[in-house]
């Protein structure tokens, strides 16, 4: 594997919480300007790997590189200007409006006592436009639906204007319409060349449809990596998830569609 000059990469990244590594010697180059989906069963270390890529968890061994520089050597604000992170089901204090939340995205861009700038306003408007949440800005977060709230959080992450977005299960707890909406937004951001997106996803078929690059993990290691058509095979799914599946072409977009085999139990 050659050293990537641009973009985000992990080199021998090992992460753990004290009792053995959760992510074990991860070597991963995130393709710049693409949508990468991290997949795997619960507890496989994909969320931990994402936290490691974001610099939110200290590596026990190895490192994460951004444009060839170790992110541990970057200042925290500097890193936050490059990487936007959205954690799984984040919580906000009571009584805040959408605008209060989205404005926080400008934190890494502002000097200690500096005021609100034109660039801050422009970034805010862009984030509202991309997520379609501008009409919600005066609403209290507590009064929003799950999908609206998730879009508000994504708007905050976009207002950060990082080149790379790291999202931990951005579609979990959303209904189907909002899942499609969020994934479509990610796809559009990548297609318009605004950002590199890395997301932990659970739905294999959605990942195959919207992502350019799939990374399948099991027990803290990568088991398969590449474009959906190459990665999403019956052998790989059986290996990683322990589920026998049939793969057919998605009738809508031709990407692989993965259907669990009906082994006896549901036979009619």
């Amino acid at each position: 594997m050659s050293e990537p000059r641009t973009g985000l990469a992990a080199r021998g990244l090992t992460l753990g919480y004290g009792r053995g590594p959760v992510v074990d010697g991860l070597d991963l180059a995130i393709p710049p300007g693409r949508f990468t989906a991290l997949l795997g069963p619960n507890g496989c270390g994909k969320s931990t790997a994402l936290r490691g890529l974001a610099g939110a968890q200290r590596a026990t061994a190895g490192q994460v590189l951004l444009d060839g520089r170790a992110i541990a050597t970057l200042g925290s604000r500097e890193l936050a200007r490059q990487l936007g992170v959205l954690t799984q089901s984040p919580a906000a204090p009571e009584g805040l409006t959408v605008d209060d939340l989205v404005r926080q995205g400008r934190y890494p861009h502002r000097s200690l006592f500096g005021g609100w700038s034109e660039a801050d306003s422009a970034a805010l408007e862009e984030a509202y436009a991309l997520t379609g949440t501008g009409h919600l800005r005066a609403r209290l977060l507590d009064t929003l639906s799950g999908g609206q709230r998730q879009r508000a959080w994504i708007a905050m992450t976009l207002a950060q204007q990082g080149r790379v977005l790291l999202l931990d299960e951005p579609t979990t707890y959303l209904d189907l319409a909002h899942q499609i909406e969020v994934l479509g937004l990610m796809h559009r951001l990548v297609a318009e060349g605004r950002a590199t997106v890395v997301a932990v996803l659970h739905d294999l078929n959605q990942a195959a449809r919207y992502a350019d690059h799939l990374v399948m993990m099991k027990a803290g290691r990568i088991r398969a990596e590449g474009p959906p058509s190459e990665v999403l095979t019956p052998e790989a799914v059986l290996d990683v998830f322990g589920v026998a599946v049939t793969i057919i072409p998605d009738p809508e977009c031709g990407t692989p569609l993965c259907i669990p085999r009906a082994e006896g139990a549901f036979g009619r």
């Binding site: 939110a56 925290s76 500097e78 936050a80 984040p90 919580a91 934190y107 890494p108």
Partner: protein, 326 residues
């Protein structure tokens, strides 16, 4: 929004006028204003009562309340807990233990030393909690749990001394513990201002950091905040503010908890507005509580901390009642 600020200032001015005018020797409001303005036609006795006795006490009450209000707002943001108050950082327990030891065990101490010693006790306790909670960084839950534990131990120590100490000394210590503005001299006011004004202003200048840290460590860190440094700095500001208040007036209960909640209802959760509003609300609460404490059972002057505690208990009920639907 401007109306809210004007209303807060008006209520504070009214409470101040009441505090200066009411007492064993009532002074009519026009003479109070005259004495404050230095007018010639005010009787010397009224001038003496207003500017010499009641004004330092009222100013001390306002400063104590403002310091506790700001400290409480900072504590609630840093701990991410609506029930957080400066006492959780061990300030009250540390100061109380030191006061008990000094007043009961050491017997006579030079009058000027007690504030310094209790201030030191408050800060030492806060530092101990911080050190024990530190494990490659801090977390608000660990600070709260260790704070509760250490405070209970310090409380046990104070109770031990109170149980076996000389009765009259214990009584004096208990009066101090209940929170009292009896020691209201300009010197006390100046010392409190010197210790509390700078940390208060620093906390206000860092309002944006408080806004963000209230979202929790993960979000704040993701946006590039150095969470441990900010939490440490803010906890220090909180400890200095409330430690200075405790050293000046003893344990004045519930203001650090109630003032930020009231202020949040009035001006919302953004700390740029919340901190000044909490300062004003705290000032009003302590000033009003002291007025009631002085006038409830004359000639007896009740400890102001007793009044704020009596007001605080129903406030808890109010908080619960508001959350009944959640």
């Amino acid at each position: 929004m401007r109306g809210t600020w004007l209303a807060l200032l008006a209520v504070l001015a009214l409470a101040l006028l009441g505090a200066l005018s009411l007492g064993d020797q009532p002074v009519p409001p026009d003479q109070v204003l005259g004495a404050l303005a230095g007018a010639e036609d005010v009787p010397p006795a009224a001038r003496m009562i207003v500017t010499g006795l009641r004004l330092p006490r009222a100013v001390l009450a306002m400063l104590v309340g403002a310091a506790l209000g700001v400290a409480g707002a900072v504590a609630q943001a840093v701990m991410r807990n609506p029930l957080a108050e400066p006492g959780l950082l061990g300030i009250n327990a540390g100061a109380a233990l030191v006061a008990m030891v000094v007043i009961v065990e050491a017997g006579r101490v030079p009058g000027g030393a007690l504030p310094w010693l209790t201030f030191g006790g408050a800060l030492a306790m806060c530092a101990a909690i911080w050190a024990l909670a530190w494990r490659a960084g801090t977390s608000s839950l660990r600070i709260i749990l260790i704070g509760v534990g250490l405070s209970a131990m310090a409380g046990a120590g104070a109770s031990f001394i109170a149980t076996f100490g000389e009765v009259s000394a214990v009584q004096r210590a208990m009066a101090w513990l209940a929170g009292s503005l009896q020691d209201a001299r300009w010197e006390t006011v100046r010392r409190l201002a010197a210790w509390a004004v700078l940390p208060g202003l620093l906390a206000w200048a860092a309002a944006r950091e408080l806004d963000l840290i209230a979202f929790g460590d993960t979000v704040a860190r993701g946006l590039g905040m150095r969470v441990n440094a900010v939490r440490g700095g803010m906890a220090l500001a909180c400890a200095l503010l409330s430690g200075a208040a405790v050293a000046a007036a003893g344990v004045v209960a519930f203001v650090g908890l109630a003032a930020p909640h009231l202020a949040r209802r009035l001006v919302g959760p953004a700390h740029g507005r919340l901190l000044p509003a909490a300062a004003l609300t705290g000032a009003i609460l302590v000033l009003a509580a002291d007025l009631v404490a002085r006038r409830a059972m004359p000639p007896l002057v009740l400890p102001v901390g007793l009044m704020t505690a009596l007001l605080g208990a129903p406030f808890f009920g109010y908080l619960l009642w508001r959350r009944r639907d959640e």
